[in-house]
Amino acid sequence: MTPTYYLLLSALLFTIGAVGVLVRRNAIVVFMCIELMLNAVNLSLVTFSRINGSLDGQIMAFFVMVVAAAEVVVGLAIIMSIFRTRRTASVDDSNLLKY
């Protein structure tokens, strides 16, 4: 099995995540799409690690996981606070700031 397929899969997942961020309106869903993107990158990293024959990529995947977790915590806190103060998680409803 060539690693190319993993790269394609990773690119696909990343794209799905990116499109999701752009088209979805629920902050939580957008947030999950971002996590999807990060994990797609992890897949890439691990694949490249294998292609390159070094473990660096896997170690990086570790770091990415940590960062993703930290992002989850921070993001959840922020989204929760806005959700609690205005009872909606829709990005569209956040419209106090306009041009």
Binding site: P3, I51, S54, F62, V66, V73, L76
Partner: protein, 145 residues
């Protein structure tokens, strides 16, 4: 994307280097897949067994949400429902410590190789998490009431 094809061919031809200490054969995971398939088949089969074998006698009271016999309150939970903050907090703490574990495991495997340096590092690492832990503790993040 015109440049994708050559890239892919090239990548496909790139020799995959094998680091000696990495078990690289994915076939090792095959039994796991088999087990998953069997377990899934069993679970789905069981879940479908109920509707196939069991009776189906409609009754309005049966399909109402169970709330100890009181008239069910209208949909407080799904969608717009809110979950007490403490659960979010637990989730966040879980993530924090889960990540700590993610690092502790690889460390533990090679702790002997790392020696004193490893000790220092892991001590710093645990201390760092400890600061956050102390903060959460003292601010009542671990209290349920």
């Amino acid at each position: 994307m015109p440049t994708l094809r050559p890239l892919l061919t090239e990548l496909a031809q790139t020799p995959v280097a094998q680091p000696p200490d990495v078990v690289s054969n994915l076939a090792v995971y095959l039994p796991l897949v088999v087990m998953f398939a069997l377990a899934a088949a069993f679970a789905v089969f069981s879940a479908l067994l109920g509707p196939l074998l069991g009776p189906s006698r409609y009754n309005k009271a049966k399909v109402a949400a169970y709330e100890c016999g009181i008239e069910p309150s209208p949909q407080p939970v799904i969608g717009g429902g809110r979950v007490p903050v403490a659960y979010y907090l637990t989730a966040m703490l879980f993530i924090l410590f889960d990540i700590e574990m993610v690092f502790l495991y690889p460390f533990a495997v090679s702790a002997d190789v790392l020696g004193m340096f490893g000790l220092l590092e892991i001590f710093l690492f645990i201390a760092t998490v400890g600061f956050a832990y102390a903060y959460v503790w003292r601010r009542g993040g671990l209290d349920w009431n």
